[in-house]
Symmetry: D4
Subunit: 239 residues, 8 copies
């Protein structure tokens, strides 16, 4: 059996991270270094692990709320009970949990979705922006099959400081939006779709190949990543 | 948390769509604009959402029946009870529900399947055509492994105004049919198959690469889309 | 060496086709059977073969012009000289040659392109429609990066009986167009693009996955196939 | 032959674009709408077409320089002669031509490359930024195989307002950089590589799947697109 | 520099093969062991290498003709001059050269092609069968777009002892043929096609997924391999 | 709802097949035409459908046993009870059911597997051969990681009239075997494997690309198809 | 039904392997030949089969412990009870069981993981190394998003004789590590990830395309294979 | 235009590398750090760049020879003239150039190829090993289609300290070899092949999925990388 390193006492942090058991090395320095704190990716973790990681993040960085994404239902149900003195927000659509008081929201990000089932990803986006102290508005179900729905919101589009466009299937909406606005636009492909669109690769490829200049793209279903990039932009603008 | 737009009272429709909760924006203008009404794609929706959307579609466009595809079993079971005064049709093979009186069927579309397990997709096709007011005949299991089965129906093939050919596995049947008829032919690849055919990409690629001129293709398992295209053709012919 | 079948005298036609040398078996019955005559696919053929095949098509079906697509430059240059008594049209952008008087154009098909470099495919489309006796209008370079260009042509769009939308890169234009019109819409993905769009698969997948009901798709760069399908629709409408 | 629209006199611009011959519809409104002017993508165009398009862009928007990317050698050689009274810059590594006086550069973007052969894409990036009025520094060949080269430039990295990281092969550099800086980071995969990395898909996938939060990605070899996004950020910051 | 093994004198053969220079180890035992002699795959070899290898094969197995496939034009031109006392056959369509008297042809294999451009592969097939002492008939251009061409040859089909079906594009012909005959059927996908069919993967997948029982498949463009399998069958039947 | 054809009375057979309900059209002519009777592919069918189809096959062709592959456990359990007067064989490893007396086995086919988990496919092979009247021997787990296991069976290999080689993972065994024997060899890739081998495409590609002449390949996991081809060979040899 | 070979009495071993039932042929000669004993791959096997195979391995090679990987939970739970007199180690994270006394560990291998969820694969690695008599240290969660965690362990890295780097997602860590150390480095891609990284192909491609010379790669999730290679290196060094 | 860093005088080296012009940053510290010096990858570089880089490598590390791989013919022809006082070795098959006296070769690596056309990659391997001071033997053309050729060299195989197996097409040889030897084995897939094997992905996948424990793999055609790994092993053994 391998010789493993002894667990360091919780609370001891530095550039080498904080060792939890033998399985995690929390990068508690990340918020200082990159502006985005380490976040718990809940998929494939036990509720116990998720709660431990959230508690450690809170302990090492009390000034910022801690976020867990892709949480199983049990975590959403028990989160409030696990952190009795804390402000706890859960979003069952996004499957996110936040622990700690949310900072006031600066700036204005607009999050659009092409369809109803893209909402899960869009709300991971807005939950992350809330944790990062960015104000966001969400406008759902304005896909290109009914262009009037988007054009009716053109004023809102142009008032935003950054636009995040969430779409599965054909992935066409971000290209259309990026041709209409002058602010930075981020496309988030989703795994919504079937046949050639199953898994989201068709949407991702369409967005990457966009003929609209300056559209950037994150991984499929990565609402968190789009929010992190948007927050960096908003912070730079509102410095 | 993001600031979301206030729900507008149900029944208020325009080019910007009808907002339902914060998750859907029904494109109630679609039938006027494209000839095909918005349809509820049931996959990934709760029974409550499906019934709400069907009811809204009925409320905004009482002249046309409302259709939901890819419905879970619970929706098929409870549909009649949810719409007491309405004509309700359910097809458990296709997993479709229609609410409202079906219009009389015009024209003549022939829907063929290569195999028995393609029937699920073919019946989504015929259910959609019924909603769109198009008459359809269905001939199942005439794949190219036993060509005699197809050649025995040649007369029917040539009497149709549009032919929809549903096939998984090798996807060869649409190419053969398109070489035999002078009316528009639509290929529908299905996810029926295993190994290199798993998911339907082999069938889709074979149909797209067809050596028979004029064969057009829709997404894998998209019986609804093939029916929508066929209905546009039939309407143009019978104007 | 294999025993090959003796060449039958040119001019002898039937369901079994017309044997040319040992390499081709012209399907001279195709126009009667499917409404679309056999066409010479020029790629990979010598100029001699292309001219021989065009001459045979003319000889077996004098009532219809003969078409060759994807012709090398030499064929375009020499075509008129090869068929002295005939009306010969060549299109260097499309790389097509037609021999014989074009029939009058019925109906109204609108061919759109997303970009300038999609023109090659769009003009294969219009050359084919001309041979099949269909009237077509061509509107180039109205991609979604500048949506105003498309919306300025909405009236033309809605006046057409069938719309063909040619696009590479993100493949988004056909989805937008299909959400705006009630006539049959055909998407033609092109190989225009680079990176994830190289070869046209991203555009093809986006079109197949379209959220706009009833959009149908042909193979990448297959302007001929889209035209053949459109011609079948126009013929059905104008019977 | 299709009926095509009559060419409008050059100089007539509006939301519908400016029609050039029958092949292009310049989106001269794009800079006002999106902040990024239309740019000539030179690949697959003749020198005549490229020069015509550059001249039109100059004529419709004299306040901004015009840019052509992916130009053939002939265009680079003849560009200065074609625009006698204009400031003309050509970059043979990037294959770009700019016509018109470059605006002063605001902000500070840092462009990194993993290897020497990624330089072609990085310089398309810096040429575009120059046209868009953004100051950029370029640091080449700091790939992860020799991490010391990157760590030696950490101070420069952290002084930038936006970082663009260009990498082929394993695509690992952007993930490393995005973990070190707090400003927005953009990954540009390149087609540099062979075997499983041929064409750049491996690099693109690695960047999209980055474990560093907030890294966004553009199409393979799309230095222009990364610059357009970075310019939108810089403009927002320096409003 | 590596230490390489000394070249053994030509003519010394055994299970370990015959070493030629430092680059080849002719498996001169192969015909005894597998019934199919080693064959020279000409692609990527110099004319000198091809001629040397053919000469060695002749020297080690004078009872059998030697075959080279995929030969450059220079080899076809010079072959007869290189082997003055030998019977030399070249086929410019197949790009094959055979040296030595062909054995009498036993059995009856029928080779079909879907299109004209598949002929190159089909003739590699018939050239190989000739070398292996098998009689073959070739029927070209009977693709499924014009089914009458195939049905007119049904008698020939059923008289064969083995059928090889060569097809690119949709790859549909082998499935149709395998449903009509009781003898072993072999599908040969070709790289003929464009778009989704480019390279032949679509045809190969369609054949492997065939709904016709017992169809077997070889690599794309591998006419040689199909012939080798057919020859093993014919030998077993005519033992 | 579509107008469907009236069910014909069971027992009425011809080239057009036997219609069962509206979902199947049994090709009862197939055994006469191709030597291989129609077989019930059980996947995705209900036990009732499988038993009905088996009964129909028995009724139309009493001289031959009927076979169902890929049967759910319930079918294996109930099969004997469903056909009281018949000889019923079930193989739980292969998931096959045969109804009717098996014919005596002619010829000698050797079925090899690379690993233990390939056995499921290999036994579908042997069950099919038994139905088709062919004798088969099965030698499991002789993969190339321990070549001695294969070389110890060389005599058996060379005594066979046809060899079927079943392998997942690297798919290397069929290439090795095909280089050792002179009889026809068939490779069956399996979906056994993980990572790059998941689903069987790596094994299939390796077999298709084999450097051993004459190896032919069927779809992944298609033990039935390999058996059908082998049976055609054995019948031709033992005519 | 196929004629199968009679089971040989357990314990009879030779180059042809040991036949167990009709499903396995244990390669008991493998340790002598390759230095790595046959190991039981538990996936898809019943607990009974796994225990039988472990017992046989113990019986034929009492000097070495027997290992089973990818075991279901039931096997982990019952293992100790099945081998009463033996030393039994189970690792629920790795899903491994070892039976027999572990040899003393020679050498020094360092196993790194990029993230917490890669631990499953890393511990399959360390469990295998323990069986093969190699000492290993495990350092988890040092991915490139927080480079400080890795750089803090540089001394450990350089003290190792071989480094195994386990990473999913972007697969960037092995490239960074291989650029820092002079000992052999092995990359193990994992299936950890989603979107373009789902299944591990993105990580595998990034590692294979590494710009760090000498990095070698094994299949996705193949901790066992990396350990086997490392053990061969350690044995060569400590001979 | 971007502000670029001033070129530092040649000869100034440190952890940040040596800047050449604005395009390269030679990692002259690499040999000390990783045991493998930086090597010039010639593809896509001009002869001038290649010669400059070789000269810099020689200047900074006079104790070691400098290597350039994938050199164009002009570089091979002119290399000796460019380095008058130096020992220069060129290998036209491998397309490599070495400048400087080769160190004596330690250890024993055996490099095998499956076919003749794999030789190009194998010789890049042996040229690299020579530069790294490792002795290598090369045995070409022992692919699995004629297993006797490999078995005849079994003694050599087992005498080696490390085996590198180079194969395209089916990629089967490395799996067979890795099952026969106890020393570390490295598979190098090559791009030799056509159809499903084109580009080398089939070979790479087969090797990664090998059932032979401990086989590791490098990128397609990466003879250099395999040699670098082997050299690290040999150095560890012969310390």
């Amino acid at each position: 059996m391998p010789a493993e390193e002894p667990a360091r006492p919780t609370g001891k942090a530095g550039p080498e991270g904080v060792l939890l058991g033998d399985y995690a090395r929390l990068d508690v320095d990340r918020r200082r270094r990159t502006g985005v704190p380490e976040v718990v990716f809940g998929e494939g973790k036990t509720p116990e692990q998720i709660f431990t990681l959230l508690a450690e993040l809170r302990a090492h960085d009390p000034a910022a709320p801690a976020l867990a994404t892709r949480c199983p239902a049990q975590v959403l149900d028990e989160a409030a009970g696990q952190f009795p003195g804390e402000a706890v927000h859960t979003d069952p659509v996004a499957a996110t949990v936040t622990v700690g008081t949310l900072p006031p929201g600066r700036g204005r990000v607009l999050v659009l979705t092409a369809g109803t089932t893209d909402l899960r990803v869009a709300r991971e986006c807005t939950a992350t922006l809330a944790v990062l102290g960015v104000h966001a508005d969400l406008v759902a179900d304005v896909g290109v099959a009914g262009l009037g729905r988007l054009l009716a919101r053109l004023e809102d589009l142009r008032a935003a400081e950054c636009v995040i466009v969430v779409a599965g299937m054909d992935g066409a909406l971000p290209s259309v939006v990026a041709g209409l606005v002058s602010v930075p636009a981020i496309g988030v492909p989703t795994s919504v779709g079937y046949g050639v669109a199953a898994g989201g690769l068709a949407a991702a490829a369409s967005m990457l190949a966009s003929c609209s200049p300056g559209l950037v793209v994150v991984n499929i279903d990565n609402g968190f990543g789009a929010a992190a990039h948007a927050a960096k932009i908003i912070r730079a603008v509102h410095r």
